[in-house]
């Protein structure tokens, strides 16, 4: 069993890095803070899979929920609105603050 670095409800920041390659972490989430909504699964790493490798070792994939104003500072809707993005564990770091 692959150990999980993050727990449901934990506050996490998406790493603000911009490597080349087949990346499944949307730009608009980089550097943003959200909370772990749930574990979506433990999946082959798409960044390796895309180049003919097997994607081993598999990586925990979390559903991370962001409040809209944390993604878009000028968000015009209800401030309770959210976006949930599937993000692989190696893109996340623990953070205490928003």
């Amino acid at each position: 069993m692959i150990p999980l670095r993050f727990a449901v409800g934990q506050r996490v920041r998406v790493r603000a890095v911009f490597p080349p390659g087949h990346i499944r972490t949307p730009y608009y989430t980089r550097g943003c803070v959200g909370i772990i909504e749930s574990l979506a699964g433990i999946d082959p790493n798409p960044e390796h899979l895309a180049y003919g490798h097997l994607g081993h070792p598999p990586v925990p994939l979390y559903r991370v929920r962001f409040h809209q104003p944390d993604l878009w500072p000028n968000y015009g809707g209800n401030l309770q609105d959210t976006v949930v993005v599937d993000i692989f564990e190696h893109w996340l770091e623990a953070t205490a603050h928003a």
Binding site: T25, P26, L61, R65, L71, Q80, D81, T82, D86, I87
Partner: protein, 208 residues
């Protein structure tokens, strides 16, 4: 000849444009896999046919069954793929996750990175779902986009957009509308359109 002299623009056949590198690669791969006996041409055709005959009505059947059995709803939220088998639907290996609308939360589905969609359950995705406009706007101004679809949500409900960026697909289970008490599974399914299961529309009860 009838008097038919105005020019018609020529509609190119698909073979009129040169094959792209990816078309050549896909064609070569297909021929190799068949030649080496991994699958037959007939199995491949059946697979393609299955994908293009999957339909939003299949997804709606599942929602319709909610009226019949609360236990079924619980199982759907646990695994769409497993419950599809109960309706004799084969929706493939890619996990499909159902999200259920409530009076507090309205869900909408998008894939901003490409156009991931629960094709095996709902059939091919609509063109607008693949457009840059929908993909870029629905994550940053979902309420404006929903308004353009004619979908008005109360200001106090949370709009929760799901960006399916990985090997997971999402489908929205709409709220059961008022006036559907006592409806059969088929009648309920008829209220649920494709867009309801993407989250850009709400189920409509047919007026008698």
């Amino acid at each position: 000849m009838p008097d038919h002299f105005h020019a018609h623009p020529e509609q190119p056949d698909i073979e009129d444009t040169p094959f792209t590198e990816h078309q050549v690669m896909a064609q070569a791969l297909e021929e190799l896999l068949i030649a080496k006996g991994f699958f037959t041409a007939d199995a491949m055709r059946k697979g393609l046919e299955g994908m293009s005959t999957a339909s939003p009505a299949d997804g709606a059947r599942r929602v319709g069954r909610f009226g019949e059995a609360a236990a079924f709803e619980e199982r759907v939220l646990h695994s769409v793929n497993d419950t599809a088998m109960e309706l004799s639907l084969h929706v493939g290996q890619i996990p499909i996750h159902a999200v259920k609308n409530t009076p507090q939360v309205h869900h909408v589905i998008v894939c901003t990175l490409c156009s991931c969609y629960p094709t095996a359950l709902l059939g091919g995705s609509p063109d607008w779902y693949k457009s840059r406009a929908y993909r870029s706007r629905v994550v940053r101004e979902p309420r404006a986009v929903l308004e353009e679809f004619g979908t008005h949500l109360p200001a106090d409900i949370e709009v929760r957009v799901h960006d399916s960026t990985a090997e997971r697909r999402y489908v929205v289970i709409p709220m059961r509308p008022e006036g559907t008490e006592g409806m059969t599974e088929a009648e309920l399914a008829a209220c649920v359109t494709r867009d309801c299961m993407i989250g850009t529309a709400l189920p409509q009860v047919p007026q008698p």
